[in-house]
Amino acid sequence: MAEVFAQMRLIAAVLALAFVVATAMPAAAQQPNSVNPTAAAVKEQQLLQQFKTIKGLGTIPDTKSYVLEHPGGREWREYRTVTLKWIGGIAILGILALLTIYYLWHGSMRIEAGRSGRKLLRFSVFERFVHWLTGVAFVILGLTGLNITFGRSLILPWMGASTFSEWTEWGKFAHNYISFAFTVGVVLMFFMWVARNLPTSADIEWFMKGGGMFGGEEPPAHKFNGGEKLIFWISMLGGGAVAVTGYILLFPFYGTDITTMELAQVVHSTVALLYVAAMFVHFYMGTIGVEGAFEAMADGTVDVNWAKERHLLWYEEEKQLGAAPSEAMRQPAE
């Protein structure tokens, strides 16, 4: 029986095959020879001209992979490897050169009347805490960020590949996490100081006279002079911009696509480098640039004569409030 069945199966198979071949042949013969199967086919060049990115459909969950081709990456590459280095290099080296020339020409801004020996509270403990929280975070973020842009050309050659890679990875983690401290600092600083940093008519006079930086008396200023207000607003706008773009980069492809990510990186790195360059002016003014300025952020106090020369209007406000030592106390105790 089994043999009969096997033979029947064989016959059936042969018949089926013959049927398939017989029915397929006429169909093939009917195909006109002139059909061009690519007449309507998508063309790469055409798509690239129409769209900057060629996107299709895929079968895996990762929707980023549906982008077939993204030649725009080449523009981002050009920006990162060439343009950004020029912008950052010129801005940072340029500012450092200007500060050096200025210092050599002008030297520190001295307390003309000499130290009075009496101190006036300029920044509270909380103000100093917020300042140094932001400041320390800024320096770490700045150094690790500069390393991502310039490290490969400047540090890698002498540090060696594996040490540099290790340090850069730690730098990346530091950059990612310390960003939160920096953001908190910027937000607190905004609410803490914004009222005293709104532009006033005194600032116009301050800027007209170059803040006394190029000779002449320093025009009277409130708690913050025109230059300090400028630094404040650079920190707020620059800090805000790097924070927003930084968080976009920190949460990659959350509602963003490849073009948005590239754009976020371009804004982040450009603003950050200009911000670093601007902050060198602040570092200079807060340390060797102005005698008696650093102690305001160290123990929080400044010399009374410093306050009179640098921030006369603020000094008078404080005196009215009774915070400043009165004239009667001027006689040195002997």
Binding site: G56, V67, T168
Partner: protein, 198 residues
């Protein structure tokens, strides 16, 4: 030495994803990482084409140019490889890559992407050829065994070609001449700054 290239003949690709599966299996690529994928353009419309895409091993590779730690290198066969020991998982190569080739084991936030993984043209990594370490990090090194990438070797329609650029360009040219049409060597202009005249 040969200049290794990939070429996907889109007029032959039937979107079977065998190349994707072969790649995943050969290199034991973890879940979530796709070194190769098939993208369908104009899906369901006349003129629909599917293209299998992976790292194209570009001339003057953008990934290598933007890497902050310089972890990429190009072999004598012009295959673009990288060192996972040096990679810091910053994700910059993905921004620069025109083909979306770099993959990361973690989709995590806070920059914790893990070490980048991508198509190696079945050529492993910096470790000793076909060593255990090399296999664990980069997958099989078929090139060292004298074999070509498995995705192309497995391709059921021989749509995906991998090998010496001149040889596969010649095969493609002959195909186009014989059948009378061809939608071009996808990605070649972007990757190699040249295309195949047909």
């Amino acid at each position: 030495m040969a200049r290794m290239k990939f070429l996907c003949d889109a007029d032959r690709c039937i979107e079977c994803n065998a190349c994707v599966t072969a790649c995943k299996n050969e290199h034991e690529v973890p879940w979530g990482i796709n070194r190769r994928r098939v993208v369908t353009l104009n899906d369901g419309k006349p003129g629909e084409r599917s293209i299998s895409m992976a790292c194209m091993h570009c001339t003057d590779a953008p990934c290598a140019a933007v890497c902050p730690v310089n972890c990429f290198y190009t072999t004598a066969d012009a295959v673009v490889l990288h060192s996972k020991d040096l990679c810091i998982g910053c994700g910059y190569c993905f921004y620069a890559c025109p083909f979306g080739a770099p993959q990361y084991p973690k989709v995590g936030n806070f920059g914790s992407r893990g070490k980048m993984d991508k198509c190696t043209f079945c050529a492993g990594g910096p470790e000793a050829d076909n060593s255990k370490e090399e296999y664990e990090k980069y997958g099989a090194n078929r090139l060292a065994e004298g074999k070509l990438p498995l995705c192309a070797e497995m391709c059921s329609t021989k749509s995906l070609l991998a090998g010496d650029g001149d040889v596969i360009a010649q095969i493609y040219k002959e195909r186009v001449a014989k059948r009378g049409y061809g939608s071009g060597a996808w990605g070649w202009q972007t990757a190699y700054r040249e295309t195949i005249a047909t």
